[in-house]
Subunit: 347 residues, 2 copies
């Protein structure tokens, strides 16, 4: 899933995402709550309509950004008080409030409010953190089930010419998030208790927080078998192309990551022949497309030499063209993987 | 003509420019000479191919940027010595060198090397400045006629799938530039002497340098009748939508300006109902398209509220979507004007 933090997958127009075959994008509850505000988005018919995106959308719970971006956060059983990274204003996120915001945004998939356990965290700290996540999961679910509504996109005034409206009339879903740090028994406990609560899907959070990749894989391998295979299983915040392939083969259904777009804006391209830092001198006169095996709009038209020039001169088109390629590469990687997995699975 | 300073119309992909109907874009000789360098572009088959733009392209002479951007410039009969605004390195532009660079870039239309007279400039200063421009025009033309070649785009290896290649095989053209400050007799002298030299087209330079708009119009009115009507007449560096309409009705065939794209990146939109600063609070909940009378990709899909949000959050998509609209507005303004003028002109 491409990440559209502030209601935009950075530097890429929605029509381009559609053409690339993106079926779902992610929005950040924390950012959208602060700017432009969830009540404004609700009053305009929800996030789909606000950003003109007729396909599926997932919003995170805001928990991760509260911990990574905000200042002076103070956690209690009730929730988290924090100061905005934008203007220092004081705010409180509770599970109920996170649900309110996500319901207002109108995402197809919402996430339970959790505490993202930092790395490293010893067993006592991870257990303490998990206590919040599990209590908040119950409160999230309760509030969500009582208040979630049908996805507002595509209503009487929501027609968008020529756009698919496959989501019209669907009800919002809520996923629980497994935490527990890198401690197997805590992860198992978290997964089992969440499954007993009966969410619409399950995510493994608290990964990609600085741990070695071997640990990431171990946690996924530990948790995945405990999650129902007939519901979506989502690993949050991963990863590089070889990682998403590995995790998908392990049984993960969904992943999100800023890597393809963030790397692109720094000139790092993922290609069928590996990674390429397009800013390198060696590409200055290279007339080849970034990836000869790619049919994205960037590779069909532009050369490595031109992309390097755009990065050297700091031109905004560089970030756009690089992002288009990286997203195409990720989406194609996943599409091929789906084909492989379908072929390998006995009917 | 949209301005593509560094080989890109800022924040807008070439395929979008094509779809908007842009038939010609402008590149800046000074910028491209410094980065990535004209020899590199020549070795890659010219600017069209380097930036993947199969339609027409015009390069300025570099004179304007030498005067507006570079440091420690020193003018002599030979040319201008200047220091790069990027790294302070020392360079010399002569008329011959400007032609060399433009020939290497391979633009369809090149511009004679001139001195852009500042405003205000008294008669003595404007005459002194014009002396350089006229001497350099002769040297530019001589060097150009001896060295210009056929536009390299579209050669044996230059095929671009699905692209118009209307320029294939055409020879580069050179336009002379009328200077003379705001002094009518100097402008007339400049025009008459240039016409006697027989350029492929004529430009009026040294406008939009801070003078009142009434003066701009006066200079154009003074010069235009002296330029052959069967050759392109180009006013450089203008203007706002009402200005380009006015000048086109006076007989101007070509104009270029950064206004549509630069204003867009600052949130200023041109619409059928006038100017709109999309950052204004009043648009925060406005679900209307930027311009209901516009069918550009931005107006077809996105709301004023969303564009405002993109500007408020500093998202790069804001500059892109705004630029697309403003370019569409300018191009449509010119297209309608052409229709009007054709209808009004007896066959």
């Amino acid at each position: 899933m491409p990440v559209g933090t502030q209601g935009t997958v950075k530097a890429v127009p929605q029509e381009t995402l559609e053409a690339l075959g993106a079926e779902i994008i992610l929005g950040n509850t924390y950012h959208l709550y602060l700017r432009p505000g969830h009540e404004l988005i609700r009053s305009l018919g929800g996030l789909h309509r606000f950003i003109a995106w007729p396909r599926a959308m997932l919003t995170d719970s805001g928990g991760f950004q509260v911990f990574s971006l905000s200042k002076l956060r103070k956690i209690s059983d009730e929730g988290v008080r924090f100061r905005s990274h934008l203007d220092g204003s004081s705010h409180m996120f509770t599970p109920e409030h996170s649900m309110e915001v996500q319901i207002a945004l109108g995402a197809d998939i919402c996430m339970a409010f959790d505490e993202c356990t930092e790395y490293p965290a010893d067993e006592a700290r991870a257990r303490e953190s998990l206590r919040y996540t599990m209590a908040w999961a119950e409160r999230s679910l309760k509030h969500f089930r009582a208040n979630a509504h049908r996805v507002p996109w595509g209503g009487p005034d929501g027609e968008m010419e020529g756009q698919t409206q496959s989501l019209f009339g669907q009800t919002q879903s809520l996923f629980g998030i497994v935490q527990g740090g890198m401690h197997g028994h805590l992860r198992r406990e978290s997964a089992e208790r969440l499954v007993a609560m009966d969410f619409d899907g399950y995510a493994i959070g608290g990964l990609s927080v600085g741990e070695p990749r071997e640990l990431t894989r171990e946690v996924i391998a530990e948790v995945l078998p405990l999650l129902p295979a007939d519901k979506p299983r989502y690993v949050m915040g991963v990863g590089f192309p070889d990682e998403i392939v590995e995790y998908a083969r392990m049984g993960v259904d969904m992943m999100d990551c800023v890597i393809p777009t963030r790397a692109a804006r720094h000139g790092l391209l993922f290609t069928s022949e590996g990674r390429m830092n397009i800013k390198n001198r060696q590409f200055a006169e290279d007339q080849n497309p970034p990836d000869a095996a790619c049919d994205c709009p960037t590779c069909r038209r532009y050369s490595r030499a031109y992309l390097r020039h755009l990065m050297q001169t700091g031109e905004p088109l560089g970030g756009t063209l690089n992002s288009i390629h990286n997203l195409a590469f990720y989406l194609r990687t996943m599409a091929r993987l789906r084909e492989d997995l379908e072929r390998d699975t006995p009917a």
